[in-house]
């Protein structure tokens, strides 16, 4: 009788220890985390929706609320102003912000492969990259242009830059000869505007040697120091969300559509399916791809910083271990 009791007690203890080990942040009340997304709700953030809706955040002791971004919303600013605890930010944006004094730290490098493209009208003579010389090209501006500018500089091309904002209508109306595009978004929007693939020429920057990692998960350094386990849990749960999205893309798509509809963002399933299908391979590597999911390689970091410095967008870059103080989500 006593032995049985003792065995039961040990079993209970072991169980509680295992639980504690798996979720260090799990004890007590879940920590509220506001996660600001860098754009309106769309499949670009499918992993976050899946992590939230499937309870991955909650399981790790996090009470995450997702805040949609959009035109005029800069997540780095929101973090700085304390309107959110975490946010998704482009790597180059994050580096620029850090250089300007916003102490961002990276929790996860979500998109490791570049999705940036340059799309030009064939009927305006854009067939090879050299054809953009002297032509009107719309670009998003600021740090997003760094890879384009790096490319143009490297190839000795001068383009007539036109600001590109939130739509590609200027391109579609023929106001520019080429425009910047995300393979998972604008490239398909052009197609969904009735433009056939044969009518345009698309250049993927990663094919031209100017691909950089893109979306990452960030918070302020101070927040990281105060809530390191929670930050690591947030990164891990987000990556788990992406893995789940890859496992069940249609389920993820349903969530994407729900979020898009609830925030009255124009969205259609065909485009969101395209977006999810295109962005997933840039997050979760196929066999042979050189990156580890969620992890920012030193090489990419140095390359990104070098590109920004070369265009005087930043003066210096902090060491990688400062920029990325945690490798909690390093492990797959």
């Amino acid at each position: 009788m006593r032995r049985i009791l003792r065995s039961a007690l040990i079993a209970v203890l072991l169980a509680s220890m295992t639980e504690a080990g798996a979720s260090k942040a799990g004890a007590g009340e879940p920590l509220p985390v506001r996660l600001i997304l860098q754009w309106t709700h769309q499949a670009q953030f499918a992993g976050c929706y899946v992590a939230l809706e499937k309870g991955f955040y909650k399981a790790r002791g996090l009470d995450v609320s997702l805040l949609p971004g959009g035109p005029g919303i800069a997540p780095a600013t929101w973090l700085e102003e304390g309107k959110a605890e975490a946010g998704t930010i482009w790597l180059t944006d994050a580096l620029v912000a850090r250089d300007r004094g916003v102490p961002l730290v990276q929790l996860a490098q979500i998109v490791n492969r570049s999705n940036l493209m340059l799309v030009g009208w064939k009927n305006k003579g854009i067939r090879v990259l050299g054809d953009v010389e002297g032509r009107r090209v719309s670009l998003w501006g600021a740090s997003l242009d760094a890879p384009f500018d790096g490319l143009f500089k490297a190839r000795g091309l001068r383009v007539r830059r036109v600001p590109q904002y939130d739509s590609i209508n200027l391109f579609l109306q023929g106001g520019v000869d080429a425009c910047s595009a995300m393979s998972y978004n604008e490239a398909n929007r052009i197609y969904e505007a009735g433009v056939d693939p044969g009518e345009v020429t698309a250049f993927a920057l990663r094919d031209l040697g100017f691909g950089l990692p893109e979306d990452g998960l960030y918070c302020l350094e101070s927040y990281f120091k105060a809530h390191r386990p929670e930050c690591e849990a947030l990164a891990a749960a987000t990556m788990d969300g992406w893995r789940e999205a890859a496992r069940d893309p249609e389920g993820a798509l349903r969530l994407v559509m729900r979020y898009a509809r609830s925030s009255h963002v124009p969205a259609n399933e065909a485009h969101m399916r395209w977006m999810l299908g295109t962005i997933l391979p840039s997050i979760l590597p196929a066999p042979g791809d050189p990156w580890t999911p969620g992890h920012l390689s030193a090489e990419d970091y140095v390359r990104a910083a070098g590109l920004l410095k070369g265009q005087d967008l930043i003066r210096t870059a902090v060491p990688l271990n400062v920029f990325r103080p945690s490798e909690a989500s390093h492990a797959p």
Binding site: Y165, Q173, E192, A193, G194, A270
Partner: protein
């Protein structure tokens, strides 16, 4: 199966099948034609409706565009104070019902280095016109399509429809006119906004009812107005094509955004119903209006028409059926009657005349032929009956004659009971037609036996009667005077005197003294009998001359005599024996008769007769007996 049906039924079935086939062809062609006509009608209606609606939208948008262009002129021409700009915009919104909002947005920095840019905006609200500066509140007007596009394109532009968050906060489309200073510097943009709510209202007010719907797509295919609200601004015709994996829809979308107009088969986005789509461009905005008509309204109309046609057709077929039945009845009725009549005919009733229908067709001819046949048959039957009656009469006569003949000859053997001094036996086998043999024997007194054999010419009753007369006379004469020659002479005279009967009889008559065996005889033209002596010798009764009896009067008949010894047999016969024919037509003949008789010595009278008769029968081998065959034997046994 058809072969087992009556002509009427077969005709009905075939005619109905043919008529039904023709009807189906006509109905099918009719349905096809009416479908085409209805499609043309629908096309015309859809095109007209589409063009009219597109024109209406175009008019509104042109007026909006004109307003904006007027406004642009004012803004560029006049140096205006901000309050004056607001006043102008307010008036524009107040006086133009179509204009939801109007803006005059100036390029940041145009009014000095520190100018952050201003965007005056007036918009209609339920309470009146509301004014605001779009530059305030984080609304980066200078990044909006309505601002960027005219600026970069350097021409007025209809924006893609958009939900103006922070501006008008409604779904709208904006006509933007770029404005320049006289020196060519870009000043800014003036706009007029059109709410898209009125477009949806406009489209839902189209007289389409349940027959279809209308939708509007923007220059890049985005659905601006559609009965399915979910589609508006979310989907484009191309995203729907992608979603449904429908390349044809994408091609259609490309035609529409290129500003073409047309009428094409279409599958509704939402209901997936087969439809037709008429599309027309709205040139000013580059939008395209689609008017969808469900195909099933055509189908319903065609079906309604088809039902009417079917009902009429069935009615027609029914009438046709009745008509065909009636016609076939009228054709087959005389045939049926003929059939019934011929059955009666076949049963043997030749009395009922066939009714011959009037007219001159095949049935009438057939009926006439049958009637002629009936009459022929009837006549033939009558003839047959008459012939048969005659033949029967002859047969009856023959029978009577035969009966007479057979009743005239003694047929009881032995005829005289207790007489042991002689045997007598005779057979007479009459031929079927020709007859006239007779034999007779009578005891004139206990010691004298008269034996007679003869053959009457002719046949039938006259012959029988002649025989009867002959026998009666002869018996009478012999009883009066037992002298054969005298009796024959008297008989001859009697018979010859009977008139012109042309009948006669051959007769051999002998009277035998039974005590002595002495016999006297006479012969009137008959085959001389044989004497079969007890010792085996065969003799013929000597020929003494004498012609047939009854032919010529006053003829003398001689008497002859022969002697019988006990055991001798007198064998008498008629020419039926010697002239019996075998199958090859050969006669039995006297030689054969004599040869046979020689073998029969010692036999009793009966055995002798039967044996000879047997030989004749064997010779004839069943050949038709052409004459009476009579054999008689008298065997003298001697006085006791």
């Amino acid at each position: 199966m058809l072969r087992n049906m009556s002509i009427g039924a077969r005709m009905s079935v075939l005619v109905l099948a043919a008529a039904g086939g023709v009807l189906c062809l006509i109905a099918g062609y009719g349905a096809h034609r009416s479908r085409l006509v209805l499609k043309d009608e629908l096309e015309a209606k859809a095109r007209a409706l589409g063009a009219a609606t597109a024109f209406h939208i175009e008019v509104v948008e042109r007026s909006v565009a004109k307003t904006a262009e007027g406004l642009a002129m004012a803004v560029s021409a006049l140096p205006l104070q901000p309050a004056e700009v607001d006043d102008l915009l307010t008036r524009v919104v107040e006086t133009n019902a179509e204009v939801f909002g109007s803006a005059a947005a100036f390029e940041p920095g145009v009014f000095g280095q520190k100018d952050p840019g201003t965007a005056h905006y007036a918009m209609a609200r339920s309470g009146g016109v509301v004014l605001k500066n779009l530059a305030e509140g984080g609304y980066a007007y200078e990044t909006q399509d309505w601002y960027v596009l005219p600026k970069e394109l350097k021409r007025p532009v209809w924006s893609e429809p958009y939900f103006d968050k922070g501006g008008g906060d409604i779904l709208m489309a904006t006509y933007s006119v770029p404005v320049w200073f006289r020196d060519g510097r870009f000043m800014g943009v003036v706009t007029c906004d059109v709410s898209l709510a009125w477009l949806s209202k406009e489209l839902t007010s189209l007289p389409l009812g349940e027959q279809g719907y209308a939708f509007l797509i923007s220059k890049i295919g985005t659905l601006i107005a559609h009965p399915t609200r979910q589609f508006i601004m979310n989907e484009s015709i191309f995203s729907l094509a992608e979603e449904r994996q429908d390349p044809a829809l994408r091609d259609l979308g490309r035609r529409m955004v290129r500003g073409e107009s047309g009428f094409v088969p279409f599958r509704s986005f939402t209901t997936r119903k087969d439809s037709y789509l008429a599309f027309s461009p709205i040139p000013s905005t580059g939008w395209s209006l689609g008017v969808v008509f469900y195909k099933d309204i055509i189908t319903a109309k065609v079906n309604a028409l088809g039902r009417t046609q079917l009902a009429l057709g069935l009615l027609g077929i029914l009438l046709l059926f009745v008509l065909v039945l009636w016609i076939s009845r009228s054709i087959t009725k005389p045939l049926k009657e003929l059939d019934a009549a011929t059955r009666v005919l076949a049963s043997g009733d030749l009395e009922t005349p066939l009714s011959i229908p009037s007219g001159d067709d095949e049935v009438v001819h057939l009926s006439s032929s049958f009637e002629a046949m009936r009459l022929d048959l009837k006549r033939y039957m009558a003839d047959l009956q008459a012939t048969t009656a005659a033949r029967e009469r002859v047969a009856r006569e023959l029978q009577i004659a035969h009966n007479i003949q057979m009743s005239l000859v003694p047929r009881t053997f032995p005829p005289f009971l207790g007489r042991e001094d002689f045997e007598i036996f005779a057979v007479l086998d009459p031929a079927r037609e020709i007859g006239g043999d007779l034999y007779d024997f009578l005891l004139l007194d206990p010691f004298h036996l008269c034996v007679i054999i003869g053959d009457v010419s002719g046949k039938g009753i006259p012959a029988a009667l002649f025989m009867a007369v002959t026998r009666s006379f002869l018996r009478a004469f012999l009883r009066e005077a037992p002298d054969p020659a005298a009796a024959l002479a008297r008989l001859n005279d009697e018979l010859a005197s009977q008139g012109d009967t042309n009948m006669f009889v051959t007769l051999f008559c002998t009277i035998i003294d039974l005590r002595t065996g002495e016999a006297r005889f006479t012969n009137g033209g008959h085959n001389p009998p044989y004497l079969l002596r007890a010792g085996g010798a065969l003799e013929s009764i000597p020929l003494i001359g004498g012609i047939v009896v009854g032919a010529i009067p006053d003829m003398p008949y001689k008497s002859g005599a022969f002697q019988l010894a006990p055991g001798d047999a007198l064998v008498l016969y008629t020419d039926g024996v010697t002239e019996a024919e075998d199958r090859a037509g050969g006669f039995f003949g006297e030689e054969r008769a004599e040869a046979e008789l020689k073998t029969l010595q010692g036999k009793s009278a009966e055995d002798l007769v039967r044996a000879l008769r047997g030989k004749v029968a064997a010779f004839a081998e069943g050949a038709q007996q052409s004459d009476d065959i009579t054999v008689m034997a008298f065997k003298y046994l001697g006085a006791k």
